[in-house]
């Protein structure tokens, strides 16, 4: 999955959780500044995990503060791409 595809997925998840269209996302965007509190962030993670069939380790969740952190954590659970 490309970075752009991951960002699109995260944006869709934000819209699902907040009920509002997500703004344009960049990797360095702070999740709190985007308007998600810690509970909504957890709901977003759970939504994305279900769609990607991955699970982010709970200790890593505590360190997710940016869209880039989230994308990296989700991508780490995905199968490696074939060369």
């Amino acid at each position: 999955m490309t970075t752009e595809e991951l960002l699109a997925l995260v944006a869709a998840g934000m819209a699902h959780v907040t009920g509002r269209p997500a703004p344009a996302l960049t990797l360095d965007a702070d999740i709190g500044t985007l308007g998600l509190d810690s509970l909504e962030t957890l709901e977003l993670v759970a939504w994305a995990e279900e769609r990607l069939s991955v699970r982010v380790p709970d200790d890593e969740l505590a360190r997710v503060t940016s869209i880039g952190d989230l994308s990296t954590a989700l991508a780490a659970g995905l199968p490696a791409s074939s060369p």
């Binding site: 709190g32 810690s38 509970l39 957890l42 709901e43 993670v45 759970a46 995990e49 709970d58 200790d59 969740l61 505590a62 360190r63 503060t65």
Partner: protein
């Protein structure tokens, strides 16, 4: 750190309300159910574990940070004959109850522990489910948790004499919930019942005790805290009519919901309870 207003939400509802469903001495923390299903006995067993973890003796001077309504203060002086015990709480209602009990050889301060200046250095420091108030959810998200816990352990180090011990009990958060209903309930408890507080992760404590305290023993008691909450909820429900009549439906419904959420949180491994025996590292 939870501020005085946060603490008031959690503990200043009305002492008579809490007295209805906590044990006789009002321990508002997890009990230890070994060889008993009686809440009173289990709370004494919890305090006995912490007495041992803190290497307390009758000649000890003990500081209890976050002493609640004084259950441990009473246990140490009345049951164990400890000569000098000082408790700190930020709750006005809890402080009033400690005064009401007129416990021998007990003094107390109603203040933020960060504003405390001890007149003596203590042989043992104890803290039972208070560290959950040291960091707020916002501070945790900002990455400040370990630094704040370390500051807490530094102060305990400064307030204790060489060779001292620290008996710590706390709830630890573990798995994060993934079901939306569970996420909402955990959040509701965090923001409505315990605003300004967040439970630490185990690794946060392991890192933050350094360079001040050596971990001698640590054990978790997830099932024991679940059983404690089940006892509390059963007692709460046994006083439903009285609670609704005296304090209103909202209080009863909220506390039944909160205790139900806690029981599930322990059952689902969202949180556990840990007891730690720490020894002061004198040369740092």
């Amino acid at each position: 750190m939870s501020d005085k207003a946060d603490v008031a939400v959690s503990y200043d509802v009305d002492n008579e309300f809490f007295r209805l469903w906590l044990d006789r001495r009002m321990n508002y923390t997890g009990a230890v159910f070994e060889d008993t299903d009686d809440l009173e006995a289990a709370q004494l067993a919890k305090l006995a574990v912490l007495y041992r973890f803190g290497r307390v003796a009758p000649a000890s001077r003990v500081l209890d940070i976050g002493c609640g309504w004084g259950a441990n203060l009473e246990y140490l002086t009345v049951d164990r004959g400890v000569r000098d015990v000082h408790g700190i709480t930020l709750s006005a209602a809890q402080y009033a109850e400690i005064g009401r009990r007129r416990l021998p050889r007990v003094t107390a301060s109603c203040l933020d522990y960060r504003d405390y200046t001890p007149p003596v250095r203590f042989d043992t420091v104890m803290s039972i489910c208070m560290i959950e108030h040291v960091c707020t959810p916002r501070q945790a998200r900002a990455g400040e948790a370990v630094a704040r816990y370390r500051d807490f352990f530094r102060r305990a180090w400064e307030w204790s004499r060489p060779g001292a011990h620290f008996a710590l009990q706390c709830i630890l958060r573990n798995r994060a919930p993934r079901q939306a209903a569970d996420i909402r309930e955990v959040g509701w408890v965090t923001y409505e019942i315990f605003p300004g507080g967040i439970t630490p992760r185990m690794e946060d404590i392991v890192v933050a005790v350094n360079p001040y305290w050596e971990i001698l023993e640590m054990r978790t008691r997830r099932g024991d805290y679940r059983r404690t909450c089940e006892h509390w909820r059963s007692r709460l429900r046994g006083h439903e009519q009285q609670i609704r009549e005296r304090w209103g439906d909202r209080l009863y419904v909220d506390y039944d919901r909160y205790l139900t959420a806690c029981i599930r949180a322990f059952a689902m491994h969202y949180q556990t309870m840990a007891q730690w025996s720490l020894r002061r590292i004198d040369s740092i």
